[in-house]
Amino acid sequence: MSNQKDIVEPSYLEYKGKYKGIFSWILSTDHKRIALLYLFSILSFFVIGATLGLLMKFELIAPGKTIMDAQTYNAFFTLHGIVMIFAVVIPGLPAVFGNFLLPIMIGAKDVAFPKLNLFSWYLYVAGVSLVIVSQFAGDGPPDTGWTFYAPYSFRTAGTMLPAVFGAFVLGFSSILTGLNFLVTMHRMRAPGMTWLKMPLFPWTLYATGWVQLLATPVIGITLLMIVAERTLHIGFFDPSLGGDPLLYQHLFWTYSHPAVYIMILPAMGAISEIITTFSHKTIFGYKFMVASVLAIAFVGYFVWGHHMFTSGMSGTALYTFSLLTFLVAVPSSIKVFNWISTMHQGSIDLQTPFYWAMAFIFVFMIGGFSGLVLGSLAANVHLHNTHYVVAHFHFIVFGGTGFAFFGAMHYWYPKITGKMYDTKWANIGLVLFFVGFITLYGPMFYLGFKGMPRRYFDYDEVFHAGNIISTMGSWILYSGLAIIIINLFASLKGGAKAPADPWGGKTLEWTIPSPPPVENFDEIPLITKGPYDYK
């Protein structure tokens, strides 16, 4: 019996299952392989979206036409928005890192519904394919922006149907992922792992799951109404038939504001994990962290009106939405406070993921505070639909979710691939990325304040200087991105072998080999302590 110990279980990367080659991936129901399917698809679309952004910034380097005409610019920002929102940041952290790590972090062998999990990925691919079809079929690409605002969305000659339906299908994929995670957490936590012994990343996925489940159907039906409007002329949002375009905006933001929390909550979870691990200290105020996650998810449902301050609402509605918007900032600041307090008197190990977490907190704070400016009614009237909004949005969504995504990537890379990456190049990439980011979006605050509207391919000469700086920032950012991605891919071949626990993490994923075996755990662990036991 003694030599049984020598038989090492194959890792999930080696184990082939019943299919060969590519089919061992695209037909696999292993949550880890599905996570990688998502990773590669999301990364590809991220690069496409980023390239569109790069070209848009190049167009804005000078007033007038530089490389594209107005209509192309409209199509670019529409596609950039749809791809980045629906295909990158919404599924980003949950579908990639959630899929890979959620079952491992709660001590389970897989998610509750592995086949449904694979089906969600197929829905994702189908949805994105529909969006791509809309670019080439019919009378020209969609040009409404990712918000599909009525009544333009059913009057434009652009090919709206596949794009809208694609977003609908992507929403469905997101719902099923959320549902899967919720059931997994309710039913499959390892023995002894009570709710308050669950690590914070799963907790954020739990809150996210509810938001995905309860908010996404609303946009589903809204998008279907747009489809019906275009095909059957039903009149829901068409003023000439008695419909109300404002109602569309309400329905749209009822989902799309909570969607921001689908993007940011798992990002906060990943950052919490990184900060405890590299501070080698128990997270400060664990229960407050859990409560603030749930509070953000809950209050996040009731703030959608702040997207519509200038659209026409009653005074009472304006005050209420503004007040609620300020309330959301409270749990977010609790989180930042707790992150900083966790570092206090910790033994901090300065590694790449920790730098990413620092960069995250920095840009997230700027994004958050600028959000408060937009949430106050008087300032909003001035700043609405300017570049200020673009800057705020990118600081929160790209700065928040994007930085957390790359932080998580550098944190869990050794676990996922079994290799270590080159730290020097990773850090160079991060610095370029960070500097480029600030240079790109920083000037937009100023430009917006000065009154430069968003979504135009042209601008007045007075905005020229700021735009030049911003465009140069986009080049720095893009080169940083390229270095990061190339470094991670190069390390797949050249990297040193990763130990089971390279960073001294305490959560369950660091107790199993890197890369994890097919079944995750030989024996399901018995949990007796809290998730961050550094005593």
Binding site: A112, V183, L232, L241, E519
Partner: protein, 200 residues
């Protein structure tokens, strides 16, 4: 060996309930739209609702309620190992579901004959309130009918599984879940019926 063989009925049922939440919110969006337009066009909605046939609506309500009962009974029947009776009850559910659709078909056909359908120029002449009422009527009952069709297909698969003994007194969570789905479809109709036919 693989995690796939792991079976957890409670997990499946929890998953189904969560899915039903999403379905409810899906229709909730439409109920919001309905309320807003009813509030804005009280008179037109009042008059248009009078034109819908209450008898057909009532018959369809009764049909769906009975079909919900039969599928609920089939779950008890399979637990008592009475395969034949289970199949009979599910068969009745399917027939009732189809009967509902047939009724709906004639009802819709009647409207369309009178040129009442979304995008019809004659309907447009009757004013915006009527356009919205019938737009909502066709969209919501249409979406509901689509759910009935999906439910029927699903229950059809269940029948095959019961015949092949893949679903039996030990393992009937799939039947239970399709029952839950069918009840939801029924429940949504319970809301649609008064909203369109009864409140005048």
């Amino acid at each position: 060996m693989t995690a796939e063989t792991h079976r957890d009925d409670l997990a499946s049922k929890t998953g189904m309930w969560l899915f039903l939440f999403t379905e409810m919110l899906f229709f909730a969006g439409l109920f919001v739209v309905y309320s807003v337009y009813r509030f804005r066009n009280p008179e037109a909605f009042h008059l248009a609702a009078k034109e819908l046939s209450v008898p057909i609506g009532t018959i369809n309500t009764i049909i769906l309620l009975i079909s919900s009962t039969t599928i609920a009974m089939s779950i008890t029947a399979i637990q008592k190992r009475n395969k034949k009776f289970t199949l009979l009850l599910i068969g009745i559910t399917i027939i009732l579901g189809i009967a509902f659709l047939v009724n709906k078909y004639f009802e819709w056909g009647e409207h369309i004959k009178e040129h009442i359908y979304p995008g019809s120029p004659i309907l447009a002449l009757r004013g915006q309130g009527d356009v919205l009422f019938y737009g909502l009527y066709f969209f919501m009952t249409g979406l509901h009918a689509l759910h009935i069709i999906i439910g029927l297909v699903f229950i059809g698969f269940i029948i095959v599984k019961i015949v092949k003994n893949k679903i039996d007194s030990e393992n009937f969570v799939l039947l239970e879940n399709s029952g839950l789905y069918w009840h939801l479809v029924d429940l949504i109709w319970i809301f649609l019926f008064p909203l369109f036919y009864l409140i005048t």
